[in-house]
């Protein structure tokens, strides 16, 4: 029994190590920051520019700075599925953000039906529930505890936005995005300091 538990711990430790670098946090934080800025500057193309610029940048950061430090690992089927779910969650959150933005634009024309008006009245709480819920549920599904905190942060900040008269959704999302982004940057800096670049010091045959 204890042996079984120790093996499970070993696997979990190895799994969590692949999240220590903070790049996922930087990605999630900058995505919410992007949503906030898109609303503030009222320029939908900003999202497309962000996606086009940030995706290759994350890939390069992972390849050049993360893999040489913690190496490359293939987990078993359950964990592979979890990574897929995490990517899926990011895609869904991003897609929902665009849908919400389009809905908002449509609503501002003032010709929308009653049901749309009802959603519009509860719009901020609605997206808070969807985004916060998506983050927390994914945190549970992929065994990535920081996502719970981010889910609560997103939901809480959007509740506050709804309660405070005149508090701008764009500012609220930018603030949440900024906090998550900052957490990611701190984690990334700590990761770079904690793990030396091992690949350079290895004989050519091993090469990480």
């Amino acid at each position: 029994m204890s042996n079984k538990l120790a093996l499970r711990e070993l696997e979990k430790k190895a799994w969590l190590r692949t999240f220590e670098h903070g790049l996922w946090d930087i990605g999630i934080g900058s995505m919410f920051l992007m949503f906030g800025l898109t609303i503030i500057i009222d320029f939908p193309a900003f999202s497309a520019i962000w996606i086009a610029a940030m995706m290759p940048a994350f890939r390069e950061l992972g390849r050049k700075l993360v893999v040489p430090r913690i190496g490359h690992v293939q987990f078993r089927a359950r964990r592979k599925l979890a990574k897929g779910r995490l990517r899926g969650m990011l895609a869904v959150v991003m897609l929902l953000g665009i849908v919400f933005f389009l809905f908002f634009t449509w609503m501002s024309r003032g010709t929308s039906p009653a049901w749309a008006q009802w959603i519009s009245d509860h719009f901020v709480i609605f997206i808070g529930l969807v985004w916060g819920g998506a983050l927390a549920a994914t945190g549970k599904l992929v065994d990535f505890p920081r996502l719970y905190a981010y889910g609560v942060l997103v939901f809480g900040s959007l509740i506050v936005t709804d309660l405070i008269e005149g508090y701008h959704l764009g500012i609220s999302l930018s603030l949440v995005g900024g906090i998550i982004l900052l957490a990611g940057i701190i984690l990334f800096t700590r990761f770079i300091r904690r793990y030396p670049k091992l690949e350079d010091g290895l004989p050519e045959t091993s090469n990480g």
Binding site: I70, H72, R76, Y195, L202, P203, S206, N207
Partner: protein, 104 residues
């Protein structure tokens, strides 16, 4: 000679060595990993890791293959089927060995 000596004879000494046990345990819970990942997770130096992996490879317990990940060569290590069976057997034997101990 009692039961204990019987266990001593059947315990797989390739896996029983602490560093190799650590390597095998890590490889058992994942699918495959490169040298850097194993070094970071086991705390072994490259020389130590390399020497123990050679022994495990010699016993047919691990497969060491070169592959390209994002256009860079990587040496990936994977537990073979016989390595997985050997580790399972080792776990069962150790459990049985300690469960056999009389109360102090």
């Amino acid at each position: 000679m009692g039961d204990t000596s019987k266990h001593e004879i059947t315990i797989d000494r390739i896996i029983h060595e602490p560093a190799r046990l650590l390597i095998t345990a890590h490889l058992y819970v994942i699918e495959s990993a490169d040298y850097v990942f194993l070094m970071q997770n086991t705390g072994l130096t490259w020389g130590n890791l390399s020497s123990h992996l050679s022994k495990l490879e010699g016993a047919g317990y691990v497969d060491i293959t070169k592959e390209f990940i994002e256009r860079k060569p990587h040496t990936m290590v994977q537990l073979t089927e016989s390595g997985r069976v050997a580790f399972d057997t080792y776990r069962r034997q150790m459990k049985a060995l300690f469960e056999d101990l009389p109360e102090a």
